[in-house]
């Protein structure tokens, strides 16, 4: 874990004035879909920051928006040219579907190509592909999975990748039990003039969801679940430097 000063720097609020590469952007908006067509999954997801009027390309999020629902955008300004979708790019970026309805906006491609789909780096191999056994020695270790805002749903090509790696290690390490702690970011924060806080119960729901999945992948291994509120950010690498993402997590601790 990094120092508190480092975390504070990571958390520093950034506005449109600070749209430098690596700057953190966070806002609530209605998503816009641009129907770019470079093949499968090539369409663009855009979102306008109401505070600055800046439009961002949020297509790199592992969890894409719903054009009819609000979205919480959290990302860092990328150096990628805005040529694919017609807006500056956030990468890494997370989008979370909110329960607020939005008017649907679908734009034509307008000459923007979108991005030809390629598998994200966090994708798992088929079961037919043997997983290399991780070398020992094995000792207490924690794996972290992440969620959308206020959700407990396993994120495809993100959480499954993390869990697959964790399970491969756990099968080799044979811990005595797992302790799964679900976290919820329950302390309200104002984003785009809206107070956002996760429900307290989502912490336990996250722990339960992970416990259910791990009980299927590691049958017979004892699992305890816990819940913690007021989650604080961490600098775990799989949160990709997005503080809000790091708060919305479940930790899987292997105990020997």
């Amino acid at each position: 874990m990094k120092s508190a000063a480092t975390l504070l720097a990571l958390l520093a609020p950034l506005s449109a004035h600070a749209a430098e590469t690596g700057a953190l952007v966070r806002f609530v908006s209605c998503p816009v879909y641009r129907d770019a067509d470079s093949g499968k999954k090539s369409g663009c997801w855009l979102a306008d920051d109401p505070a600055t009027g800046l439009r961002w390309d949020v297509s790199h999020s592992p969890y894409k928006p719903d054009v009819g629902m609000g979205v919480l955008v959290e990302g860092r300004v990328s150096a990628e040219a805005p040529t694919a979708c017609g807006a500056p790019v956030l990468e890494p970026v997370r989008t979370s579907r909110l329960d607020t309805p939005c008017v649907r906006h679908v734009l034509p491609a307008e000459g923007y190509p979108g991005r030809k789909f390629k598998l994200p780096p966090r994708n798992i191999q088929p079961l037919s592909v043997a997983r290399p056994v991780p070398p020992g020695p094995y000792s207490e270790r924690t794996f972290v999975t992440y969620f959308e805002f206020d959700r407990d749903f396993l994120v495809y090509q993100y959480d499954d990748f993390i869990i697959d790696n964790a399970v491969t290690w756990l099968r080799a390490a044979k811990p005595k039990k797992l302790i799964i702690t679900g976290y919820a970011a329950t302390q309200p924060e104002t984003v785009t003039g809206r107070k956002l806080a996760e429900r307290p119960q989502v912490a336990q729901q996250r722990a339960d969801a992970m416990a259910e999945t791990l009980s299927r992948l590691l049958p017979g291994l004892p699992i305890e679940t816990r819940a913690k509120l007021a989650a604080q950010p961490t600098d775990h690498p799989d949160a990709d430097g997005i503080p809000g993402q790091s708060q919305r997590r479940a930790e899987i601790r292997a105990v020997f």
Binding site: Y33, D35, D37, G39, K40, K41, S42, G43, W45, S61, P62, Y63, K64, P65, D66, V67, G68, D99, V106, I124, P126, L127, S128, D152, F153, L154, V155, Y156, Q157, Y158, D160, I163, D164, V167, A209, E212, T213, L214, R216, L217, P219
Partner: protein, 509 residues
């Protein structure tokens, strides 16, 4: 010939009597003799026939072939073929070889006409619109005769799923009950059951439907559930509403309901049925328009299915329907061996495979695709997005998806099906809102989740030519109607050529 058209053997003879070019064409279109000397189309329970290792039956599009590994099989005494229940039916009653191991509506009509409605197929329990109706009247069996639908009675409320207690997060009420099976005495949600109407799914090529590609179900957000019998991950692809995760559970469900077996299947019966089900393959073998489907480099027919590894995702391995890729590049010399019609048809099939894989469109508001998975709503993709398993076209992941085929506003407004009002008690459905009108809640009747209303498990695309109509409720009367449904549902903008290419592709699977 009950179908009023020449057998493939006769068509072959006519072909061979034609011009020299046609004689040459015979070499390029005939792999083995198909369709000749086929036994009676209808397999009655307890007949004691021998099920051949290879068995061909004609249909409108050509010839379907069933292939039994290490066949033939003596059916006498075999629990798949014997009437082991109390109503005279056997498994084979609704899983007929001539219909790709499913049952077409036309076969049901032929059986009605042949027996005056006395065949056990029309058993009151589920071969009629409702057991309370006068069973001697054709109208009482209209859903089976017109759309190939059997009544499926599900318990309500759902109490458990994957071995865990469940309390449904939705209320269900009957809006309309044209057949009386959701509102009469002892019937309907208030009486603890719900009747829906569904097509029998094919019992063939099952190693593919049981195959597990990845350890997770991304549509449900969990690792795959484990088989209660062997502890291995379950594919989730067997039944329309995913209520049975393995063959034993499916057999027991079917024996108790469709066969009205009063006791239980014995372990020996289960083993014999499973053994047969895992040995039988079915696929179209010959096309009326295109000739033999395993010639000039094509790999149609069930042999390829028998010999391939199941569970492969087409996008990272062998592309879906690449069995017909060779017909995309028929050499001039080979083309000269075909009639112009055969050549055009084969080229159309190959184009259809590409349209299936590559022609993208916007998929929107389909639970299981656009929610809760993170693909986004909408997402641009093609048919192969969901129909992604190499050789079969089912979903490598558990295939519970809502295409709208059973739910308003997308389903056809049929007034002969019961209509239910579903009210979500927790979160609203991600696309329909809080109140949903549906003919069949589908997977929600198994999971108890409102978000699963309307989801129906994708099925195999093999043997389609033999088993119209299509979709779980027989919504599409023929292959063109399948394409037309997708066109309407997603506003795809297929050209007429693309539509015909897709139809031709589906006719040879």
């Amino acid at each position: 010939m009950p179908r009023g058209r020449p057998s493939s053997a006769l068509r072959r003879r006519l072909l061979l009597l034609g011009l020299p070019a046609a004689v040459l064409a015979g070499a390029a279109t005939q792999s083995v003799r198909v369709g000749a000397d086929a036994p009676d189309r209808w397999w009655s329970p307890g007949e004691g026939r021998v099920f051949p290792a290879t068995l061909d039956y004609t249909n409108d599009h050509g010839t379907i072939r069933t292939l039994v590994v290490d066949g033939p099989i003596e059916t006498k005494g075999h629990p798949f073929f014997e009437p082991i229940g109390t109503n005279g039916r056997a498994c084979v009653t609704c899983h007929q070889p001539a219909d790709g191991m499913s049952l077409s509506a036309r076969t049901a009509r032929e059986r009605w006409d042949a027996t005056g409605g006395k065949d056990p197929l029309f058993a009151a329990i589920d071969g009629s619109n409702c057991p309370t109706l006068p069973q001697g009247e054709r109208a009482s069996h209209s859903l089976l005769l017109e759309r190939g639908l059997l009544r499926i009675e599900r318990p309500w409320p759902v109490r458990s799923f994957n071995g865990k207690p469940v309390k449904p997060d939705f209320r269900i009420e009957v809006v309309r009950d044209p057949n009386g099976c959701n509102s009469g005495p002892g019937r309907g949600p208030e009486a603890g059951n719900i009747s829906v109407y569904r097509r029998p799914r094919p019992v063939a090529n099952l190693k593919y439907l049981l195959a597990v590609g990845f350890p997770f179900d991304p549509k449900q957000g969990y690792a795959l559930p484990l088989d209660p019998d062997d502890g291995k991950p379950q594919s989730g692809n067997l039944m329309a509403d995913n209520r049975a995760g393995n063959l034993r559970l499916q057999m027991e469900d079917a024996a108790a309901s469709h066969l009205q077996l009063m006791g239980k299947l014995t372990p020996q019966q289960i083993d014999r049925i499973r053994d047969f089900e895992l040995r039988i393959y079915a696929a179209q073998q010959e096309s009326v328009q295109g000739g033999a489907l395993d010639t000039l480099g094509a790999e149609g027919g069930p042999v390829k299915l028998r010999d391939s590894q199941p569970g492969a995702l087409g996008s990272i391995g062998t592309p879906v329907w690449s069995e017909f890729a060779a017909w995309d590049r028929i050499s001039p010399a080979d083309a000269a061996r075909l009639t112009p019609e055969q050549l055009a048809f084969r080229q159309s099939v190959a184009r259809g495979a590409r349209v299936f894989r590559d022609r993208t469109f916007l998929i929107f508001d389909s639970a299981g695709i656009n929610s809760r998975m993170g693909f986004g709503n909408p997402v641009r993709n093609s048919c192969v997005f969901c129909h992604n398993m190499t050789q079969m076209g089912n979903d490598v992941a558990p295939g519970q998806v809502d295409l709208g085929t059973t739910t308003l506003p997308f389903a056809d407004p049929w007034d002969d099906l019961p209509l239910f009002r579903v009210t979500c008690l927790g979160e609203p459905h991600p696309h329909y809102g809080r109140v949903i009108l549906t003919y069949d809640p589908g997977f929600a009747l198994t999971s108890g989740k409102c978000a699963d209303v309307g989801k129906i498990t994708l099925q195999s695309m093999r043997g389609l030519a033999a088993r119209a109509p299509y979709f779980s409720n027989g919504l599409a009367k023929d292959l063109r109607a399948v394409v037309d449904y997708y066109e309407r549902r997603y506003n795809i903008g297929y050209t007429e050529q693309e539509k015909q290419d897709l139809v031709n592709l589906m006719s040879v699977l």
